[in-house]
Symmetry: C2
């Protein structure tokens, strides 16, 4: 016979469930088996899973053990991902001397997926305000939110900033962080739009610290159970780090456990265009504005998940 565990989604309490088959043999249960009592884990009317909870593997199990064959979930948001820039060439095509391969829309799409959204990549926009307008309109009509990459600085040809100034609704432009300085947030035809910087590291970091929490919160996640891309920790640095004047400085660091501490170190060139630095490291420093970090200092950091 098989030992029958008490129902965890107990509809009663205080009484052990006595598996029928075992009783039929006339043996003392406690002699041979580990018995689970009804209501041992969860009792009647306990709220075990709250609305706004991220469905992790364990919470999926928990929902099932309570008998839920179906539960209401938030629809995955469709997020438009639009690359902007005259200098960009799609990977696989011929690269001219004054071009670079476009990479941000691929990385941003992966980040959107990691956060539980569905990325919708649009074709690259070269320097055409009309094409940009058309694409933003199409994205606003078909998606829940829009991410652009590039074109948010102060130049005449920074088209995303310009079109948002002239025809959109800007809530903020520029955040005092490095890298990732000039991100823009607002709405286009009623849909939320993030204008992310074009530097690969900057767009990745702005997604991590601005877009990810926004996605969590707009999907209805509650504080503490939000899907997120990093854990905030304290890290003792093995090397000095240069901060940034007037800006929160997020340098790429490698975090590892050693002894009873988390230690941080840096490995590669830190240029904001060098996405390799995000592959070679697993964390970001959180140096307050105008502060450097000396070797041996303990600093706040994000440990990327």
């Amino acid at each position: 016979m098989v030992l029958s565990y008490a129902a965890q989604s107990a509809r009663g309490l205080d009484k052990p469930v006595v598996p029928q088959k075992i009783v039929d043999e006339g043996k003392t249960l406690a002699e041979k088996f580990l018995i689970r009592w009804k209501g041992e884990n969860l009792t009647h009317n306990t709220v075990a899973l709250r609305a706004g909870t991220v469905l992790t593997p364990a919470s999926v199990s928990l929902a099932a053990t309570m008998g839920h064959a179906n539960i209401r979930v938030v629809r995955k948001p469709n997020i438009a991902v639009i690359g902007v820039g005259d200098e960009l060439t799609p990977p696989g095509e011929h690269l001219s001397e004054s071009s670079i391969y476009e990479s941000n829309t691929f990385g941003l799409s992966s980040l959107v997926e990691k956060m539980g959204g569905t990325p919708m990549r649009f074709d690259l926009i070269k320097d055409s305000m009309d094409l940009l307008r058309e694409t933003l309109d199409e994205a606003a009509a078909s998606c829940d939110a829009i991410l652009t990459s590039g074109g948010v600085s102060m130049g005449e040809w920074d088209m995303v900033r310009r079109i948002m100034e002239e025809e959109g609704d800007i809530r903020f432009w520029k955040v005092m962080i490095r890298p990732g300085g000039p991100p823009l947030f607002g709405s286009w035809r009623g849909k939320p739009i993030f204008g992310l910087p074009g530097n690969p590291v900057s767009s990745h970091i702005v997604f991590t610290v601005l877009v990810a929490p926004w996605m969590s919160s707009s999907m209805g996640s509650e504080e503490g159970t939000r899907p997120r891309l990093a854990n905030r920790v304290r890290v003792e640095m093995e090397e000095s780090l240069k901060g940034a004047p007037g800006k929160l400085c997020m340098r790429r660091i490698s975090i590892r456990q050693e002894g009873d501490k988390l230690l941080g170190s840096t490995r590669t060139h830190q240029g904001s265009g060098n996405i390799h630095s995000m592959v070679a490291h697993n964390g970001l420093s959180l140096l307050p504005p105008d502060s450097d970090c000396q070797e041996g200092d303990t600093i706040d950091a994000l440990w990327l998940l």
Copy 2:
């Protein structure tokens, strides 16, 4: 005009890329623009992404920036997930007094997905060796590996253990961990099979500490870049924890950063049937066999991702 960055997948070195449009204006580049040098980030013949690397959002970006429109990847393994047990009722159906809802196959399927595999859930197996054999055969024919849940203890009706003893190939049975004691590993008709315990917490933990590293390694991931479900850390416990005689003890703990330390605490009942404990906590203690932990002790722990 748009500032053209140097190609990161540089095919030459040492020469700055001069964006044509800017030169046409006859201005000094450094006066107006931040210039990126060709080969600044990655140089010709640098191996930036190695085989066996997990494709994170940043490494997807990196592949794109090097011009790769397609890269060879490991096929997602199809993993059969089979629930075994007379006491189990599918969620949503009527629950008799001596039954519980089946939850493990849902949680295990989520874990398989989180590790980059494709879960294939099979129908529940009640106490029938013939049906179990038939299902294992079908799973071995159609999947890359098999996970069963339940039926691996020492009882006459622990069918997975019995059928593996009689007709399969067992490499090991039982691991000295608590919870999660009696997992089994071997092969069925040439396919790897993990027989996981039926307790929800046990199966979740055995997946985390045994199946996940096995999946990473069999997908060709190299140490250090493996997809994984936890970071190993040191945690100062705010409460005492009872260890287990002769077994590594993994109690559910909540890990949080406070001051310069990671602190650990426990919240709920720790029974191995109580999957709620995996939802309410975010870590596992790693107490060595025969050792308890006192309040204030610093212990090894897994911080679940």
